[in-house]
Symmetry: C2
Subunit: 158 residues, 2 copies
DNA sequence: CCCATATCGTTGATATTGTCAATCGTTTCT
DNA sequence: AGAAACGATTGACAATATCAACGATATGGG
């Protein structure tokens, strides 16, 4: 059982093939991998009239947690005003509803409608397949490792 | 020697603490981790009058590989027209030069000036420290693993 | 209880970034 | 040589990000 995946390295010096200045920079790799993943996701979700953004909002509103807009903004790292637009759009399509938070009348709880849940389920399937293609080079175990490591960066303790 | 880092999972059901719908979605974690990393990088690099974008361009032009603008665009996943703007900016500040590619008169090779190299070195230090803060939760070995895995996603074979 | 202060959602203005088509000069293919 | 492809550039436009301000509530201290 190999602890270190070690996927085909030895990138040392194919001359001129790939600039090396950033090739081991975690931030850069993060940016590039994200760009690729995002492009694939958007392309796939377009079939449902969604983008990565609207998809993630929709999916979160199917959750038990019943997030408020502020919570959505924080979780997705968006400005609250962007969440307004996203929810406006989803709501206008009948996929989502704004409900007053009984505990705090300033806040809106956003919750998916039946249609929203239905679309979310379909889109989730599509997204899953798109990811499969993007992450296909990794074994299941590698993906688990990657997920765990990314979670540390994505949700820092301090 | 623990093969799997396994950083504090069991996120099963702390009620209301964190929406779970996306918490194990690789694409989402990628996006969020990148957003955090990018924000930290931009904040740090601002001290040098740079952003993540301009920094990465500048850094690549200090490389031996002497990238053309097209190569920069491809590597950074930018539209060629965006590279024009970035190089324009750096050039107007005397950090970078456009040189005709002797092998192809259509192409420009972009190369850092002495001032550019000097700034790049300083900025690199700054960036390194900023990353240290972002990735501080990971051990050195975990970072290596993460880098290797991300490289597979960032530079797919097929 | 009342006031000062903070929060949530919203709007609007503005900047930054992303995307696309068209063009010029050059290269490549046949 | 001529046709097609390519690199850089420009310009137009869409999408996204960032910020300040506001009305409606909440909250905490006096």
């Amino acid at each position: 059982m190999a602890p270190m995946p070690k996927p085909a390295d030895a990138v040392a010096s194919s001359p001129g093939s790939r600039p090396s200045a950033l090739s081991d920079d975690l931030s850069f790799l993060l940016a590039r991998a994200n760009a690729i993943s995002l492009a694939a996701g958007n392309a796939a979700l377009a079939a449902h009239g969604l983008k990565a953004r609207s998809y993630s909002v929709l999916l979160l509103t199917t959750d038990e947690a019943r997030p408020s807009q502020r919570e959505l903004a924080e979780y997705l790292r968006l400005d609250p005003s962007q969440v307004v637009s996203l929810v406006d759009d989803l709501q206008s399509r009948g996929l989502v509803e704004r409900r007053p938070d009984p505990a705090d009348r300033r806040a809106n709880v956003v919750v998916a409608t039946d249609a929203g849940r239905q679309l979310a389920a379909a889109a989730r399937e599509t997204a899953r397949m798109a990811e499969e293609q993007v992450h296909g080079q990794l074994t299941r175990e590698e993906r688990h490792t990657l997920t765990a490591l990314l979670r540390v960066l994505a949700f820092p303790e301090t």
